[in-house]
Symmetry: C2
Subunit: 616 residues, 2 copies
């Protein structure tokens, strides 16, 4: 068992409930939360269970308190909504509240050896030494935290399924069921990442999805799994991607592969989530015809309408891989007859490793506005959690988890409103001015990070080994399909109809926006276009000058952040880690600024118009 | 215990001696070798032991055989010399033979977890699971192989001493003594890499070399160690380098640190080998005043004459770190009052990972000719051995171990003679023409590798993660002090008096040779000079054209090697691995050619004068 730590309460406030005693149902959990919250306060609450309401709830203010009406999990969400609103001083939600998406999933990339792939908050909360290993009180606290913002599915193991995680749906089923039971009272269901080739592991000579023995194997296996965990949310699959097995091994389509698995899950009400993160990860850098951002659309678009109704195609927000800035994936706009899930990433893989501050809500607002809430049927995010006492390494990274819950419930959510509520819940002693300071800092944190890292949508200037810190040519001659092709004259890739044609994957409005460098948004300019350093931006600056300016500005803003944070009265538990990481962020920003400026200076030979230091 | 494998006999020929029965003394070993060799042959041999001769021997041909006179290990060396000469058809050594250096050491970078740092031939032959773990028959075979070419010291553990290797001179002493006993009959003594901070590990509050308690601790420890292993060769130390502890922690000089340890070893006849591989591994790339090649000379030159007489300063052949081409380290030329050891590296860390063919004797000839045999008092090489059945991964890499023994014994050795002897011993069925083919291929293999990798002495264009394959800017913005500073106009670092001043560390003859680009040897041109791409080389070509030409040529030569190898009748055990690795080498050469050419084309904008393909 993992050692108990002195847990950070995150946005839930200091111990208003004894987390050591797990509830047995969401209803009981709701009762306890309300009981504990109102214990020292005036007012009474009543819960009215209306099972037909499911996850929905309504809060009715009464003369001496509140009545919360809701379904089995709805009452719990209502209780937390009430408590959050009262603690944060926010308006109460009016009328019936229901989540926009039934599947609001946290994807944990936890390996059974205890590591977390792209984890920046310590080791796994539930795996160690190739076994389940956890503090039940901590899992209870986790369930409570997820429920408090409406996250209802936890996929507990890495999509890259490594030994012995295949056995989560085999020999480890009893332990998996025990784990599921800990989260069930918090209305959090489990999902499991599976290995497409599992039947071969079990002795079959094939995993061909059209082989009747394979289909029968999965039907039988699904029955066993659902016998142990009747409310399992389903299976998550990464297939034919980055060396994972998949249907292509057998000459089958991804629809054939996914549908076979979906058939096995359907009798049990399970969903089959199929990740669309598929591309050629052995690209020859010499090959300029192949363009990685085109890959997923080229593969899946022809399959639109071919997936079974309980298949969900999970698509990363951009066509690359969680870069700081990407255009929205055209797949999200081009699969009208397929149930899509939008995949976000809370883990700050390319966005600062939970050292640099990167609040994601403004980014999600842009993505959701472009995609439109109706196009997707589910939402998922790669977890930023780990065994650190504060859950997320940097206390501010909690905001991303909190906000993910809010956006998954209500994709129209306002980033600043959500951020301010999180600040009030997390740092209740802050004055209005202090809240303003932190809210402004967080709201612009992504733009600051963007400015001092890869310029104007170029992506992939990060160190390949770690995905932290600058390495402008680090990916340039590798096999990942991630190039900037900077030379002495120009930089960027032409993705217009004259180039790789990627822009043609977009609907007309976006296509015509992106197609011309004159109309393409600045922040995506070098994603879509190859331009000479002397290119005139709309504001009259040259491209190279804009690159320099952004990097000087971004770094100066990081330095300003450091000064602003010094003015804020963070509690002791947070203040040291915030200060230490801010110092590291400033170092990182300076390194990015100087490396990127030098890189482009060496190619372009253009001096800075303002005479600032660019190292030769 | 490690599993016994079907061992590759290397240059010793097919099993003319049952290696499963270890001898008890070098004399007995010599008797057995001769007995087995002459068993099916005409002629008799006699051994005459003259203990005063030590390692020396003389072979006297008689009417019906040979008389070998020698010291305790000399008789063994004489026996092997006779057998090698007869098997290879080489002339017998005439008169008294004695090694040029008393210390001819193989440095093994074996970790106790079973890995070998920069090992390309499998896991450790004697460590696994943080313990000793070996097949005694294989260690016996290893001792025989080392003795057959006169290597007389084996440092068994990595200079980066990681848990629990500190205990080799502590709790693990009994096992260390058992291991030493296996090699003793082959006249191979052990050396141990130690951790300078070991007294702190043992409970002292300091490892300050001038603290009498620390000196006493080491004296006591040395006594314990020598009680267990009376013929231990000594200790090897990597201090104040790449995060290792050392005297600088306590404000002491390296002479103070080394002498304290040497004092502890002196009563027992042990040597203290101190590695001079010390530099700032946290350099700021912006800092153009600091120049890593200057570091060792700057640090050690002022200490010349300050080291105790049983201290040996072990210096890598170049001022960087085992690059394909470096000028000789000026430290080797500038420490007349210090016992120096020349450190070579058989492990092909930067020279092809024992995939690409890289025969080192021609390189060593150059180094030894520049240094002069009298300047050094010992010679060491980082091992290329591992658990692979053929010992070295690539069968040709055995040549480097064989030749190291020859050069350590006789630093005047001729590379081609040594290479041809190795071929005859290893592939006795080859015809004279086949021997010629392979000898020519091996003799030019370093130049081929050099041509398709980093140009003209630039160094460090290799992938930082692996040290294999091209990444021209991979080290450029890192902290290792390893930059090429390529830009749109020029490339290289000015190390003349006008630049970093590194050239001033050389004696006058070399200084004036290197100082002017007009006289500097082509292969070191960009090591010493920063030059524009249009620079005219002595042969009239521009610098950029020479870079292109070299890369096209080097790759074409690798392709030609592949065809040549197909003509040679390698035995089955070797032919597959040689063919597979040659195919990988050709791939590697093409990747290097195209990446380096494209890199410089993107900077220079210069087309190839011969119109060959350079990818944009």
């Amino acid at each position: 068992m993992q050692t108990a730590v002195d847990l950070h309460p995150a946005w839930l406030g200091e111990a208003h409930m004894p987390v050591m005693l797990p509830p047995s149902t969401p209803y009981e959990a709701a009762q306890r939360e309300l009981g504990a919250f109102f214990a020292g306060r005036a007012g009474r609450t009543a819960l009215r269970l209306e099972p037909g309401m499911g996850e929905a709830y309504a809060i009715q203010p009464e003369a001496d308190g509140y009545v919360i009406t809701g379904g089995e999990s709805g009452v719990l969400y209502g209780a937390f909504a009430l408590i959050r609103a009262l603690r944060a001083g926010s308006p109460l939600p009016e009328g019936r509240q229901a989540p926009a998406y039934a599947l609001r999933m946290l994807n944990c990339w936890d390996n059974m050896n205890g590591t977390v792939e792209r984890g920046y908050a310590g080791r796994s909360l539930w795996f160690e030494d190739n076994a389940f290993c956890y503090d039940p009180a901590r899992i209870n606290a986790l369930g409570r935290m997820l429920a408090s913002v409406g996250v209802n599915v936890l996929c507990l193991n890495n999509v890259n399924v490594a030994e012995p995680a295949q056995e989560l749906i085999g020999d480890l089923l009893p332990q998996l069921a025990d784990f599921a039971a800990l989260l069930r009272p918090w209305a959090v269901r489990l999902m499991v990442s599976i290995d497409f080739s599992m039947p071969v592991r079990d002795g079959l000579d094939t995993a061909d999805p059209l082989d009747p023995r394979v289909a029968a194997w999965w039907r039988e296996r699904a029955s066993r799994v659902y016998e142990a965990i009747p409310d399992l949310a389903g299976f998550l699959v990464k297939a034919d991607s980055e060396h994972r097995p998949g249907p292509h091994t057998y000459g089958r389509t991804h629809a054939e592969g996914a549908n076979m698995l979906a058939d096995a899950l359907r009798p049990h009400g399970g969903a089959l989530v199929w990740r669309a993160f598929v591309y050629n990860c052995k690209q020859d850098w010499r090959d300029t015809a192949t363009d990685r951002p085109c890959a997923a659309y080229d593969l899946y678009r022809p399959l639109d309408g071919a997936f079974a109704e309980n298949v969900i195609l999970q698509v990363k927000y951009g066509p690359y891989d969680f870069q700081v800035r990407e255009p929205v994936s055209p797949l999200l706009l081009g699969m009208p007859r397929t149930a899509l899930s939008l995949e976000l990433q809370l883990a700050q893989e390319y966005t600062g490793h939970q050292i640099d501050i990167f609040a994601m809500p403004p980014m999600w607002r842009e993505v959701l506005d472009t995609v439109g809430p109706q196009r997707i049927r589910a939402i998922a995010a790669v977890s930023n959690l780990g065994r650190d006492a504060n859950w997320t390494g940097h206390p501010f990274a909690q905001l991303n988890l909190y906000a993910f819950g809010c956006f998954a419930w209500d994709p129209q959510a306002d980033p600043e409103t959500v951020t301010r509520a999180w600040i009030r819940l997390t740092y209740p002693v802050f004055s209005a001015a202090q809240e303003d300071t932190l809210a402004r800092l967080l709201m612009r944190s992504r733009e600051v990070y963007e400015r001092y890292t890869a310029p104007l949508g170029l992506c992939w200037m990060v160190r390949p080994e770690t995905h932290y810190g600058p390495s402008p040519y680090g990916y340039e001659f590798q096999a990942w399909g991630t190039y900037n092709r900077a030379d002495r004259n120009a930089v960027g890739i032409d993705r217009t109809a004259n180039g790789t044609g990627y822009v043609l994957q977009y609907p007309e409005a976006l296509r015509s926006l992106y197609e011309q460098p004159e109309t393409c948004p600045d922040e995506l300019l070098l994603f879509f276009h190859r331009l000479p350093y002397g290119w005139r931006m709309r504001d009259g600056r040259t491209l190279i000058q804009r690159i320099y300016d952004d990097h000087f500005d971004g770094c100066a803003q990081a330095e300003a952040m450091q000064a602003e944070l010094e003015t804020l009265p963070f509690p002791g538990r947070d203040s040291q880690v915030i200060r230490e990481r801010m110092a590291l962020q400033v170092m990182n920003a300076r390194e990015w600024r100087d490396v990127v400026n030098t890189f482009f200076f060496r190619f372009s030979g253009a001096p800075d118009a303002n005479g600032r230091v660019i190292y030769p």
